[in-house]
């Protein structure tokens, strides 16, 4: 797997701490929704830092989009979010992974459970579903601290209004604005029972977020009788990857 030099074509502000980098990657072989890339930064003294970032864009899009959340004491994310500009280059390799992926041909129903930036690879699945005009029933339960921390909220609302079998459910765990009609607590068994299909529907389930979030959600789903073999999980680390 070779390192490629990608050029940033656009940067979109998603929240106060997250930006999407839209990348032109020469000879990009294409990807599946759910895959990630490794990004490598090299300092002038040769020191290298490497992190994994999920791909946010659908396979059908020409550019590769990564959504990066700034961790205040992070080594890589503050640089990507605050310092990089359109026209800048960065090194990446990928696409990586093949287990935590969904293609519309895999069918559904599709249950997506996201904590924080764990939404990114699941967004690629929803964008893919929309791009190929799939009507596979899909539900997203996304958890964020506050409304302003919710990634892609306008686009998700639009997708939910398309009336093509996608339902959006959200929970805000810290603070909800006046008039909020969603959930206002951490994801728990009762919430998942309300949101998920019956275990008999054999939903393909993808759970992504911080380790404790993922394990609580997956355990609750198994406790409700969902087949563990249909529940795929991806845990995000505090720094989003390994250093080299």
């Amino acid at each position: 797997m070779t390192w490629r030099v990608a050029t940033i074509r656009d940067m979109r502000e998603e929240t106060a701490s997250a930006k999407t980098l839209v990348l032109d990657v020469p000879d990009w072989p294409g990807h599946l929704a759910g895959q990630h890339v490794d990004v490598r930064l090299t300092a002038e003294d040769g020191y290298q830092a490497q992190r994994s970032y999920s791909i946010a864009s659908a396979p059908e899009e020409r550019m590769v989009a990564l959504t990066v959340v700034r961790f205040a004491d992070g080594e890589v994310s503050p640089y990507l979010v605050d310092e990089m500009r359109p026209g800048d280059e960065l090194e990446l390799r990928g696409p990586i992974g093949g287990w935590f992926v969904w293609d519309a041909h895999d069918g559904g129903p599709l249950l997506l459970v996201a904590g924080g930036s764990g939404l990114v690879p699941l967004m690629a699945m929803l964008r893919h579903r929309h791009a190929v005009a799939s009507h596979v029933p899909a539900r997203l339960l996304v958890s964020a601290r506050r409304a302003e921390d919710l990634l892609y909220s306008a686009e998700l609302a639009e997708l939910a209004e398309a009336d093509d079998g996608f339902e959006l459910l959200a929970t805000l765990t810290r603070e909800a604005p006046a008039g909020w009609t969603g959930f206002t607590r951490r994801i728990d068994r009762e919430m998942l029972e309300e949101v998920a299909w019956s275990p008999r529907e054999l939903a393909r389930t993808f759970v992504c977020g911080p380790t404790a979030f993922v394990e609580a959600a997956a355990d609750a789903l198994v406790g409700l009788g969902h087949d563990p073999a249909l529940i795929k999980t991806e845990r995000f680390g505090p720094t989003g990857g390994s250093e080299t």
Partner: protein, 88 residues
Amino acid sequence: MNDDDLRLDGNAAAGLLTEVFAVEMTTALGTCAHCGATNALGTVQVYVHAPGTVLRCPACTNVLMTIVRSHEHLHVDLSGVRRVEIAG
């Protein structure tokens, strides 16, 4: 931050595993040499903050593999995995 926050899964080691095996490995099945449990490598426990990357069996936490990078070399210890089955 506690130890649980440092425990990731095989997806976090996918790039490194591809460096070692030259194919996509999160869908490969690994059998633990200690307890015999077989799991997709995407589901095993991964610690990336040890010196190097450590893969552990999700059933018994036995170390399946360690991959340590030093200078231009990757040092790979596979003694905890009895068998690997790669789709292809």
